[in-house]
């Protein structure tokens, strides 16, 4: 059994079928019995800009990407120019031989600054100015270059409708890439069948393309002696796996958790979650008959989206909305209203690069402090941050349960890294749906905000009892009041939920420790960055470090006592997150009094990678206090 860790990049112009190429490779690798984690990087424009998938596959669980890579498969010159330097020694570059005479310096879609950087690199390396010259330079420097006549082969061997060239080139590239890594054609065709399961015409075309280029590859690889057998090994069968993006994971979780109303206004990288719910969810009765689907409403803006979700929650249906930073900004007033009226509504917030529209399609973890402080005044809320796709499924269920148990708005905080990365996960376990404390009928005058020992009052749905809701301070009935004593008691009732939440939350909802308990150094992180830290642990240990990773999950109310236990035990505590300030590190400091001085940060819009964690950790050990990561294109 070969231990393997395969990293590959498939790049091309946005709109040129590059996303399908990546998905096909991910599917083929997952169906080959491997664990997969794939990052999708794409521009916010419609077409032409450089996009790529960085796919990592292993026979053990992987949660992050890693450089350098084994393969770069390029659909266009910009992908070659951008990623040639990412190849490890012995790594393979694959591209169309038709590109050989193209200039590396005349790339219109490339941004000017990137073009200047590229030219400087090429000049410094004396790597030439054309694809052919770069290929020769790479081969002189221990890399393998596979120039394949993709377009020629497709045009000669496949009967191609003129509209389908973009949809053929991507499959051709991926097929040759996987064949070069040792995967037999039969497995690639299985993945093609699965990817185009509902599209017979596309399936047949892609099967034909894969077959044609695979035949050509056999002839070519014979002459080139390309014999890399990373894939195609016999692997022990794995249990049933699912291949999901983070958007899919949350959608699945919400459906398992009994979601009945989802509202949204389209925004990257959140909207796909609503599309998944809308397209795939069917509600069945106890006898398996279809009785409809959850209601998914595209509102006119995010203000309406949150207000509709609040309205739905008041009627007693499980309601949620989803958005990212700019939309979340608009939802803040509604979240405050939900806090004042103790409305169990869930807001799924996928962070992306800000401020303003910022980097719409790029990763960031810079909305943590915003999420916990969103809204004026003070009120109880829960902010739960998932660190993986599996957690995203479970937490989506949990968020709806928590919202109804405590009657507070719950913010499920994710990031673009989770939203758009695709990975293999175990099928979800169907957990319990908890609807919270309900009012008994016919017990006299109903007090929606009744005072009592428990800050959570029995809840009736709209239409069951008479009740009033207002943004103003109110009495137990919900009527507006400015009486100072009622104000104090109602304020304290709302805020007392924070203590109750912390007291009742299981440790695993607060934070999770990965690694040995006898640690000396502690990496404190959250969100998708957790994966890179966990993946880095074996290498850090092999270098003699006794290090563990603490993933903080509940960030509001903040479990200060629980976190203090860990940070106070470590000799060195290092923050790791994708923002400028070190927002989690600041939050730990504010709540525990423990100042995390060493911080590893990244705010380029790209994921923190495993190799970056290792290198940055060693720099921290070497005496640096703040390490800013810059890797990735």
């Amino acid at each position: 059994m070969v231990k393997m860790d395969l990293n590959l990049i498939i790049g091309g112009p946005q709109g040129g079928g590059i996303e399908t190429a990546g998905l096909l490779a991910v599917k083929a690798l997952a169906m080959d019995g491997l664990e997969v984690f794939a990052d999708r990087e794409y521009h916010s424009n419609i077409k032409g800009k450089h996009s790529y998938s960085h796919i990592r596959a292993s026979d053990k669980r992987v949660r992050s990407i890693k450089y350098p890579v084994d393969f770069v498969a390029a659909l266009d010159v910009e992908s070659i120019a951008t990623h040639y330097k990412d190849l490890k020694p012995g790594g393979v570059l694959i591209h169309d031989s038709a590109l050989l005479d193209k200039s590396l310096l005349k790339l219109p879609p490339m941004e000017k600054k990137k073009a200047e950087r590229l030219k400087a690199e090429l000049d410094a390396n004396r790597a030439g100015a054309t694809v052919k010259e770069l290929d020769e330079w790479l081969q002189r420097n221990g890399k393998v270059v596979l120039q394949y006549p993709f377009s020629k082969t497709i045009l000669e061997k496949v009967k191609l409708d003129s509209q389908l060239i973009e949809r053929a080139m991507n499959t051709a590239l991926t097929t040759v890439l996987l064949r070069a890594a040792g995967m037999p054609l039969t497995k690639i065709l299985e993945a093609v069948d699965s990817l185009f399961i509902d599209k017979a015409e596309a399936r047949d075309l892609n099967r034909a393309v894969a077959g044609a280029v695979s035949d050509g590859f056999d002839e070519l690889s014979g002459t080139k002696k390309l014999d890399i057998k990373i894939l195609g090994q016999d692997r022990p069968p794995r249990g049933k796996r699912m291949l999901v993006a983070g958007n899919d994971a949350v959608a699945i979780g919400k459906l398992i958790g009994g979601l009945r109303l989802q509202t949204y206004y389209p925004i990257t990288p959140a909207a796909d979650e609503s599309f998944v719910i809308e397209q795939h969810a069917k509600l069945l009765d106890s006898e398996g008959r279809a009785v409809g689907s959850p209601i998914v409403i595209q509102a006119e803006d995010e203000i309406s989206a949150i207000c509709m979700a609040i309205g739905g929650a008041l009627t007693g249906v499980r309601s949620a909305t989803c958005t990212s930073g700019p939309g979340f900004s608009l939802m803040v007033e509604g979240i405050g209203w939900a806090g004042m009226n103790e409305v169990p509504v869930v807001v799924t917030c996928y962070q992306r690069g800000g401020p303003s529209t910022g980097l719409p399609t790029r990763h960031s973890q810079s909305d943590l402090l915003f999420a916990i402080n969103s809204g004026h005044g003070e009120f109880s809320r829960i902010v739960l941050a998932s660190g993986s796709h599996e957690e995203a499924v479970d937490d989506a269920v949990k968020c709806m349960n928590l919202a109804e148990r405590y009657q507070v708005p719950v913010i499920h905080l994710l990031d673009k890294g989770i939203a758009n990365c695709v990975t293999t996960v175990d099928p979800p376990v169907f957990g319990a749906v908890e609807r919270g404390k309900r009012a008994e009928k016919g017990t006299g005058e109903y007090l929606r905000f009744a005072f009592g020992d428990d800050p959570v009052s029995p809840r009736a749905y709209l239409g069951e009892e008479l009740m009033w809701y207002t943004g103003d301070e109110h009495d137990e009935l919900g009527h507006i009041t400015e009486d100072p004593d009622t104000r104090r008691r109602m304020y304290e009732k709302r805020m007392a939920k924070r203590e109750k939440i912390l007291k009742e939350a299981p440790d695993g909802d607060k934070a999770v420790l990965y690694g040995d308990e006898g640690f000396e150094d502690l990496l404190v992180t959250w969100g998708v960055s957790t994966g890179a830290a966990i993946d880095a642990l074996p290498e850090l240990r092999s270098r003699g470090s006794r290090v563990a990773v603490l993933q903080v999950r509940m960030v509001e109310p903040f479990p200060a006592d629980y976190i203090s236990k860990f940070v106070s035990e470590a000799n060195n505590v290092i923050g790791l997150e994708a923002n400028y300030i070190g927002q989690l590190a600041e939050l730990v400091g504010c709540n525990t009094g423990f100042r995390i001085r060493s911080r590893i940060l990244k705010y380029t819009g790209r994921l923190i990678t495993q190799d970056e964690v290792v290198n940055a950790y060693m720099r921290i050990k070497g005496g640096e206090e703040r390490v800013v990561l810059t890797g990735g294109e």
Partner: protein
């Protein structure tokens, strides 16, 4: 006689510019195919497609594209938006 690349009926693909469509022949072709009986030398229209800049330009902007490869039109997959991730 030249090849497809030099013909007025040639429409290079937006993404894969060594491939393209001919307005007179069905299917996708390579730009270096030998010219056929329908070959006509390409000439500048009021609007042209610059392959080097990937933009359509007006004849009045010709000076900005001196030395570049221009074509009468370009070819874009009409369904491209259906499967393109973008963000806003």
């Amino acid at each position: 006689m030249g090849n497809c690349k030099g013909c007025r009926w040639w429409r290079p693909d937006y993404f894969f510019d060594d491939l393209g469509e001919c307005e007179k022949k069905p299917g996708i072709h390579r730009e270096d195919e030998a010219a056929c009986e329908m070959f006509e030398v390409k000439k500048e229209n009021e609007f042209c497609w610059c392959r080097d800049c990937k933009v359509t330009f007006h004849a009045s902007e010709r000076g900005l594209h001196r030395g570049h490869n221009f074509f009468c039109r370009t070819r874009v997959d009409p369904d491209v938006h259906e499967y393109t991730s973008t963000g806003d």
